[in-house]
């Protein structure tokens, strides 16, 4: 019964979301549903409004119009109508946000263990041994050696910092992860490992995720469904393979044909 319910209620419903910067359009009239366990990719060129959309969804920006309904543990609620305390609580417990630049998402002056433990302590963990055990476990899951637990992120490589940021976000078992260019700025072999790791974690934890990227290879590997944005509008959406293999909109065709072949 409960399984039926979770399958019939989308985790996130976005209706006519619009954000303007003065007279310019950030994103306009975006609507979609995200189902539990689904990974949605948002692609488009720089300035197409993908990051604006993600920030609006995650509550970092206030949209001008539209509704964002999240299926909370107490039933579906409009996130934009929530008070700030409630929304921040949600973003600590049920949501996670992986920044493009790990420096934005990590505390660089705090050890790796402290970084992973922060979200646990923020939701009330008060037992040092438990926090440390969980942090060690999560460092292992993102392939960071346990003896690095007391090093600061500034002593980590770019790829390790990004993996640490992922561990820090996933430690409280969120249900929805927002990722803004999670592989940007990493070299290809590190990117491949990170994608592998992300795919494993998403499948294993049954996470829903919204991934913003301009890298079509990333969405091909991770995303179930794809939305293509241009000039603030969604120009095409559908199953990832379908959109990438048989693009209908002229811009999508351009985007797919622009990918360099090795």
């Amino acid at each position: 019964m409960s399984r039926m319910e979770t399958l019939t209620t989308p985790l996130l419903q976005v209706e006519h979301l619009t954000k303007r910067y003065g007279t310019r359009i950030g994103c306009a009239d975006v609507s979609f549903d995200l189902w539990p366990g689904e990974v949605l990719g948002i692609v488009g060129e720089s300035g197409s409004g993908k990051s604006t959309l993600l920030s609006c969804l995650a509550g970092h920006l206030t949209p001008d119009a539209g509704r964002v309904i999240f299926d909370t543990r107490d039933g579906p609620r409009d996130v934009l109508a929530m008070g700030e305390p409630e929304r921040r609580r949600l973003s600590r417990s049920d949501w996670a946000f992986v920044h493009q630049n790990p420096r934005d998402g990590l505390r660089m002056g705090v050890t790796a263990g402290g970084n992973v433990g922060e979200r646990l302590m923020a939701v009330g963990a008060r037992h040092y041994g438990d926090i440390r055990a969980k942090a060690t476990d999560w460092l292992g899951r993102v392939e960071i050696a346990a003896e690095r637990i007391d090093d600061r992120p500034s002593a980590f490589s770019g790829g390790m910092q990004q993996r640490l940021q992922i561990a820090r976000n996933l430690v409280t078992g969120p249900r929805l992860v927002f990722m803004d260019e999670p592989t940007g700025g990493l070299d290809v072999s590190v990117q491949a490992r990170l994608l592998d790791l992300l795919r494993g974690l998403v499948r294993e934890m049954g996470l829903s995720a919204i991934i913003v990227t301009h890298d079509l290879a990333v969405v091909r590997l991770l995303a179930d469904r794809l939305m293509v944005m241009k000039g603030g509008h969604v120009v095409e959406s559908g199953l990832t393979d379908q959109v990438l293999d048989d693009p209908q909109h002229a811009y999508t065709q351009l985007l797919v044909s622009s990918v360099l072949q090795v």
């Binding site: 433990g117 926090i131 007391d150």
Partner: protein, 308 residues
Amino acid sequence: MTDHAYNFAYLDEQTKRMIRRAILKGVAVPGYQVPFASREMPMPYGWGTGGVQVTAACLTPEDVLKVIDQGADDTTNAVSIRKFFQRTAGVAVTDATAAATMIQTRHRIPEQALTEDQILVYQVPIPEPLRFLEPRETETRKMHSLEEYGLMHVKLYEDIARHGSIATAYAYPVKVEGRYVMDPSPIPKFDNPKLSDSPALQLFGAGREQRIYALPPYTQVVSLDFDDHPFTASKAPHDCDLCGASESYLDEVIMDDAGGRMFVCSDTDFCASRRAEGHVGRLGEDQFSSKKIANSFEGICGGAEGTQ
């Protein structure tokens, strides 16, 4: 003298009213940092300008004032503030904790238990306990208003991860009445238990940061900790070498360059009154007076009353 040109206790009455309003708000919301329009005082920031303004706003001509710095009545900071109020307010001053009605303090709470008739004023350098973890003031204010205090435990976590135990020994963060996390000013954590359930009114003034906060009498104050690393009020594991007290907070004094050292009460009034009662510590018999040791500790060796 030009002293008569000043209003009672230096500040003008309107300024005192403004500070009193901030104090009342602080008392009404224990642990909440109330912004106030801190005035320029005739002493540098870091010398207790916040505490001085709070004291000035609370002082009446009948008050008996005691000023301590690191527990001592005779160190530079304490002497200059005591003189300041003697000149500008003409109030009686004392070294005896029990005789005082107002006590301004820097870095210590007196050893002797306070009473309902006393006000304890703390000098606070940085009132924001979250400051060194979160530099943005807008963000820390939001964290206070939404009661998001997980970050405070990150600091304690870092202590244990690096040092094996909570190494924070002063300015140890506390939670007031289960609501606001507060920086108790840089008192040693040994003094933290005395904050809680104190019969005296406790006021905190930060002049440069323009904040006042308060603990009304009998307020519950809990030091933050972890379940498996509980808070402990630590002190040097010795007895006072002058008065033999075993339960007071001690200063370590280096005696020579051959490893000689002694431990003395940091609360000079407590130590002197115990010695007057006849208690004698390990080195209490010889020529050392607590005053001379306190002076040499501050690097002002051989004052006018030197006995050599």
